[in-house]
């Protein structure tokens, strides 16, 4: 798929190196979340983090030489065929859909923050809050106590 031959891929997939790949991806997402001030960027980073955790989880359930856990139509399982563990698949399947729903919730929060503060940079938000606490009698801000 990505210019690797099958043999190279097999070498790549042996041992623990695939776990390390997922850990590197996870950390990339984590880095975006902690270092970027832009809230949309943070959400994208959170998504990356989430997807790599999913990949990690699925990779635990993989059995080498196995196939997808869909039985033949006759429902006769012969003893020689190997299936991967279906349990992680189920958990991650639902987690993906729940993930997109919560992402949408986060994005709509960002839109409201933009309307209230006119910025989606963490830095500006903190500054605005600080200047608000310094003069308490500023009453016409509706969303003051949000953060």
């Amino acid at each position: 798929m990505v210019g690797l031959t099958l043999d190279q891929l097999k070498i790549l997939l042996t041992g623990h190196s695939i776990y390390w790949l997922f850990i590197i991806l996870m950390m990339t997402g984590f880095y975006i979340v902690v270092s970027r001030g832009n809230l949309i960027k943070k959400i994208i980073g959170l998504n990356l983090f989430q997807t790599s955790v999913f990949l990690f989880y699925i990779s635990i359930g993989k059995v080498s030489g196995g196939t997808a856990p869909i039985l033949p139509m006759k429902l006769k399982v012969d003893d020689f065929s190997v299936y991967s563990n279906p349990l992680p698949h189920v958990l991650i399947l639902t987690a993906i859909v729940v993930g997109v729903a919560t992402t949408a919730l986060g994005l709509s929060l960002i839109i409201r923050i933009k309307e209230a503060y006119n910025s989606i940079e963490e830095h500006d938000l903190l500054e605005e809050d600080r200047s608000q606490f310094s003069n308490e009698n500023n009453e016409d801000r509706k969303f003051g106590g949000f953060f």
């Binding site: 990505v2 997939l13 042996t14 041992g15 190196s17 695939i18 776990y19 790949l21 850990i23 590197i24 991806l25 996870m26 950390m27 990339t28 984590f30 975006i32 902690v34 270092s35 970027r36 001030g37 832009n38 949309i40 960027k41 980073g45 998504n47 990356l48 997807t51 999913f54 990779s59 359930g61 059995v63 080498s64 030489g65 997808a68 856990p69 869909i70 039985l71 429902l75 006769k76 399982v77 299936y83 563990n85 279906p86 698949h89 189920v90 399947l93 639902t94 993906i96 859909v97 729940v98 997109v100 729903a101 992402t103 949408a104 919730l105 709509s108 839109i111 409201r112 933009k114 989606i120």
Partner: protein, 174 residues
């Protein structure tokens, strides 16, 4: 490839490009899911991660703004050290894990095996993932559906998806 698209998200300042990179990342991870035998998951990831969430992120970008603020290099240093430390700890932890693809690990031997063995007699459908999802863990799935429902309601409340609210905003009250 996955790493390149992930680093791409870090690197670009244009939020539109970042959204595109995350879509590419989703498609590539869907491919990886297929190789890890999780066809159902790959299906969902391709539809949700690459399709719907990209559209939603783009919708948010249209409603807010397109460019990210510049940051000083010095500010990035502390997060970088933190992230590298965490990564080292995780890699150290992963050394204790069973080797990739081995079949006699704790994760493989108990529950998953039971599901695979008993699905033909008890449920009688070929796709074990569906059987576990809807029947063995039906209660769980009910909870997940409720979470999706709640998140949807939350978005509607926040963004005022109902007609009444929008009319009020047009009159300038909101």
């Amino acid at each position: 490839m996955l790493v390149i698209s992930a680093v791409g998200v870090v690197w670009v300042r244009h939020l539109f490009a970042a959204a595109m990179f995350s879509g590419i990342f989703s498609f590539l991870s869907a491919l990886l899911f297929v190789m890890l035998d999780a066809v159902d998951v790959a299906f969902t990831e391709a539809a949700v991660g690459a399709g719907v969430s990209t559209v939603l992120v783009l919708g948010t970008i249209v409603l807010t703004k397109r460019l990210e603020q510049e940051r000083k290099v010095k500010e990035n240093l502390r997060p970088l050290i933190l992230v590298i430390l965490t990564g080292m700890i995780l890699i150290y932890g992963s050394l204790d894990m069973p080797e990739f693809g081995s079949s006699n690990t704790p994760a493989q031997s108990h529950l998953g095996l039971t599901y695979l063995e008993s699905t033909p007699e008890q449920i009688g459908i070929p796709n074990v993932v569906t059987a576990v999802l809807a029947s063995y863990r039906g209660f769980d799935t009910l909870g997940e559906v409720a979470v999706v429902f709640t998140a949807g309601v939350g978005v509607l409340v926040l963004l005022g998806g109902f007609m009444r609210n929008r009319r009020r905003k047009d009159q300038g009250e909101l």
